[in-house]
Amino acid sequence: MHSSAARSARVGVVTFPGSLDDGDAARAVRIAGGEPVRLWHRDKDLHGVDAVVLPGGFSYGDYLRCGAIARFSPVMGSIIAGAGRGLPVLGICNGFQVLCESHLLPGALIRNDHRHFVCRDQWLRVENVDTSWTQDLRMGQEILVPVKNGEGGYIADPETLEWLETLGRIVFRYINGNPNGSRDDIAGIRNEAGNVVGMMPHPEHAVEELTGPSVDGLVVFTSVLGGLLAPSMVTA
């Protein structure tokens, strides 16, 4: 374990007005062994965090488009700048929508093709482990985490979908059924550097036997913590 490190990694969790899963995301960080730091949408100071989670929910009431107004919040200006310098950023559900609206990730998320809100446990296949958030997962590993969205259909133009595939930018794919009409069964994607990942399903809801369908989601959080602690382990 990394408990002998001088300090645990500090992972910021942003709260926008209308965020719902910020509490669970902070809890997942703590269970994974990190120190959650609550970040407020109007505060552009990231308080020196080592990584950031954009949680699920309905930021700004989903007004205009999901994530569209959050993208121009003060905290996002700092996160976009940080992401450009390699700060690990994970967007879950509404957080994924915010990352697409911010152009940190390509494509967009539109209303589910079947028009219903979907809330169920969902199997995913890990398609890329070369990211800050999936490095402790195995290629091809199948994990079970909840998915819950109304506008979770991932869409991009055909050229973008092709290079996402060929460049290995697809991180998670839905298996045993596509819950929302996402193109190519895409459940999560990454940026070029691998520090930014967006995913529609909710790993933060699968970190404890008592409340989740599995504890498969925990590895997403331990992955980033392991990467952040690695340098201090070397110098220790």
Partner: protein, 93 residues
């Protein structure tokens, strides 16, 4: 102090309308749901409905080229997501 006439002159505003529509190739589940409802209501001839958004932007003073360019910029950056939507900007007379 300004006179009432000056104050009313200062309040002159113009309206610029931005129409935003999903791109033709983008699935529009809301439009599909509306089309189905119209069918149930007896409007049998409706072959398709697409749902978009209309923004009415009030601009202080007259709309000149610079003001229009600003609204274009608003549409491009916030009002529309050009990955999935297209927009048209026009001055309402």
């Amino acid at each position: 102090m300004s006179t009432p006439a000056e104050r009313s002159e200062a309040r002159v505003t113009s309206r610029v309308v931005v129409d935003v529509m999903p791109k033709p190739e983008i699935l529009d589940p809301q439009g599909q749901a509306i089309q189905k409802a119209l069918g149930r209501m007896g409007f049998a001839a409706v072959s398709a409905v697409r749902q978009g958004k209309r923004f009415e932007v009030e601009i202080d003073g007259e709309v000149d080229a610079a003001a229009l360019a600003q609204v274009e910029q608003m549409a491009e950056t916030l009002l529309a997501n050009t990955v999935i939507e297209e927009f048209v900007v026009r001055v309402e007379q």
